[in-house]
């Protein structure tokens, strides 16, 4: 691959989708991110990224069943595609590679 680099926010979103596995939809992703990363996320920012990732083929989405909560609106569940997983792994390896290349004295250990 190589030509696709994930942005920081993109990476976080994809990881959150991975964490939530079968329950990743707009609202739950935001909740999860806010809880774990302690940062404010707007629906606008999130949704744009979700659509972009879907367009790139890293995410798949599917509308769920209609429920009585949230005004009867259906949820859109996101799942990682295989290429999405691959990109995440690549990113992780790149990071690890970088980490391992850092001389130990830099962090004073």
């Amino acid at each position: 691959m190589g030509k696709h680099h994930l942005g920081e926010f993109e990476e976080v979103v994809m990881l959150t989708v991975a964490i939530l596995t079968n329950d990743a939809y707009g609202f739950s992703i935001i909740e999860e991110m806010e809880k774990r990363l302690n940062r404010k996320v707007s629906i606008g920012a999130l949704q744009t990224v979700l659509r972009r990732l879907e367009k790139k083929g890293y995410l798949n989405s599917e509308l769920g069943e209609s429920t009585s909560v949230r005004g009867g609106k259906r949820k859109r569940f996101f799942t990682l595609t295989s290429s999405g997983k691959k990109v995440l792994e690549e990113t992780k390896e790149q990071r690890m590679g970088l980490w391992s290349a850092v001389p130990e004295f830099v962090f004073g250990k």
Partner: protein, 900 residues
Amino acid sequence: MKGNTSIAPPKLPLKFFRWFCNPEFTEDIEGDLLERFEKRKEKGVAAKWFFTMEVLKLFRPGIIRSFNGIKRLNNYGMFKNHLKTSIRSLRKNALFSFINIVGLAISMSVGILMILFLTEVFSYDDFHIKKDRIYRVTTHAKQPGRELHFATSSFYIGNELNEQVSSVEKLLVLREDLYADLKINEKAISITGFYSTASFFDVLSFKLLKGNPNTALASPGGIVLAESVSKKLFGNDDPLGQFVTVEDNDDFQKGIITGIVEDPPINSHLQFEALVSMKTFETSPKKYRRQAKYNKALISDYHVYLLLKENAEIAEIESLMVEMMAETNSKWPQASLTHFLQPMETFVTDGDSYVREPGPSFSQRLIYIMIGLTTIVLLSACFNYTNLSLARALRRSKEIGIRKVTGASRSQVFSQFMVEAVLLALFALVISIGLFYLIRPGFLNLPNPSAKGYQMFSLNIGYKQLSYFFLFAIGIAGIAGFLPALILSKLKARVAFGDASNIRLIQGVSFRRILVILQFALSISLIMCAVLVHKQYQFALNYDLGFATENIIHIDLEGDNLDLLEHEYAQLPEVIQTSRSSKILGVAKADAGIMISEDRSDTIQVMLNKIDGDYLEMHEFKILAGSGFRTALREDERIRQIIVNEELLKSLKLGSPEEVIGKKVWFKSSDYKDISLAIVGVVKDFTSHSLTEESSKSFAFIQLPMNQGKRTSKERFLGRKSKILGIKIRSNDLLTTIEKLENIYREIDPIHPFNARFYDDEIAETYKNYKASYTIISFLAFLATSISTMGLLGMVIFSTESRMKEISIRKVFGAGIQNLMLLLSRSFLVMIFLAGLIAIPIAHHIINNTLLSNFLYQAKFTVIDTLSGLLFVFFIGLITIGLQVRRVALHNPSDILRDE
């Protein structure tokens, strides 16, 4: 969470979100928004705030529905498709579209005319930069039994306002009785215009081409000439500072050219050839003219304009003027003068409210009438379009059905029909502009007494007007096409595929029937009016006046060398004879005098003409006894002879023509005081006046002295023609002859304009109002007929199309074509006859009481003339109905019945 149900997500942001969001995402994102809102509910109002912020943050490229992507391409494609199908359907029904387009075009040409007319009326005086601050002082004069509004007021009130009221910035006073002959180096020219105070160019924005705007009109004798007049007098020389001699004017003898002003534009309410300093008038040798400016009650001579400051209070100034006049008014309790201020924008459009307008104006009532008529014409044309399209659409229901089945939304079908309407209206616009050029001259020649003889309108089409026309066409398309588009787009696919006659499009057939009858009644009466007015017009033109008018040219005599001029003309080989007279007979009312019998027992009024010795012979009057004037009358000689007509002999009971020769009668007129004249000749009766003029039939000729007949500038100012030279010619090439006459005239009299007219043209000119009304009525008749024919066509198509099955069944049972045609057209022909029954008596009444009531001699109208309108409309209706019905009647019944 549930406890706090009173808080719902704010509606507006939610609506906004639904509007902008890509429809694919709307549902789940809205769900997220709501869920998040629910969670935040405890925070109360802040939750709403957060919600709004979230929506705003969603307003970003990835989420917003795409405007320029798929959507627009799609629309463009649909538009192209609409355009294509519209053109196809217009072409497929070529005749039908043609009728529709032409029908719309005819009425739209009236709309175009009205757009041009209104833009011109309301752009009057727009070139004045300070227009919104310019007012004039008007006067309401109340006298016992009479109230008048003057566009004028007194110099006095203008001065008072200028001195006492702080909100008056500038005062401009004009007097319109300026007329003079200006002479320089043997060249001379007659002018009319205004005396004006020095502030003319401060207040008004006429362009001063040469000279100083502040001083040009500041001192006595200062003359500012209009550019065209200056060209005539000075050619290319510099006129500034030139001294001119002034003739034919009581107020001054010498003037100096102090400025050249651009000719007043056509949309100016002030029209002039020259401006002369008001100081000149105030230093007039005549005392009453010098003192006119101090007279508070002289309110009919001065036009007083005020340039007010930005924040001037109109009501305050008006009440001040009441105070200023209080003393004067208290002296004459039965009469009173009240002054008002009138803003410049209403000078022209409020024309019929004031007397003594300085220039052209237009009646406000007339403007409203014209707008009203145009609206009626346009609405009924739109109605017909609607009617026709609906009737026609029965045929297109299958097309609509297929569109719907293949997934067209209602708005798409709607826009399909709107596109078609717009297309049609644009075609109609092109034709209507052509038609407009046909009616333009007729409209421009319409008699408009308040225009004061000026050409008020140019009615030219510019880019600005073209854009108005375009919007107008779109508007018409909108009004005319809306209903069909709405109704047809509502059509359900299932119904559309079914039998067309089951579609109940619009109710109220009887209402439409009545409307069509009224439209026909209107066309019948208009055609009738046009035919009869035309007949009367022709009758008046060809009326045998009792003397010859052919090949006679009239020239106004104004110079000094009249005898020389006449002599020169007589030398031309083309000229048979020349003669002089004071009046032209047969065109208007002649002058009147009083004739008293020798023993003073009988007194009658006679009509008069002063003539020379050749007049009777040249005009081929039939002399019953005696002769014409044999010897010429010298300028200093007293008149002794008179020639009378038969009618006068009867009225004065003088006996037979042979007996009266040599008898004396007493005669009085404005020129002569009770003189005794001898009758030297008797002529056969003739018509001395126009056929619309009531006039005494007794007529007398008296002698015109030699070399007399110069017309003064004052007479010209008042529009009087006093002396006329008649020339009888034998040439075939009239233009060259007139050119020859003009060249001789120019040599002998370079000052005054050469003004030649044919006698027959002058007679035609007398009746030009009738020609104008004939033109207008014909056009209206054309308009009404085309509108009503369209209405009829709509009805016929509608009724035949919906009776297709019935006709087919009748055919199967053996009904013949004639049979069917009679069946289908009977009710429509009855409608036309009904319209005729209504129209003919009404039209007769209007013709006899309004249109031709002025004519004392009426042409004989035949039955054919009276029935002309009905016959014409009947004929047109027959063709309309016949063509449509024949098409239906010839239809193969199996085509229609096989689906059952």
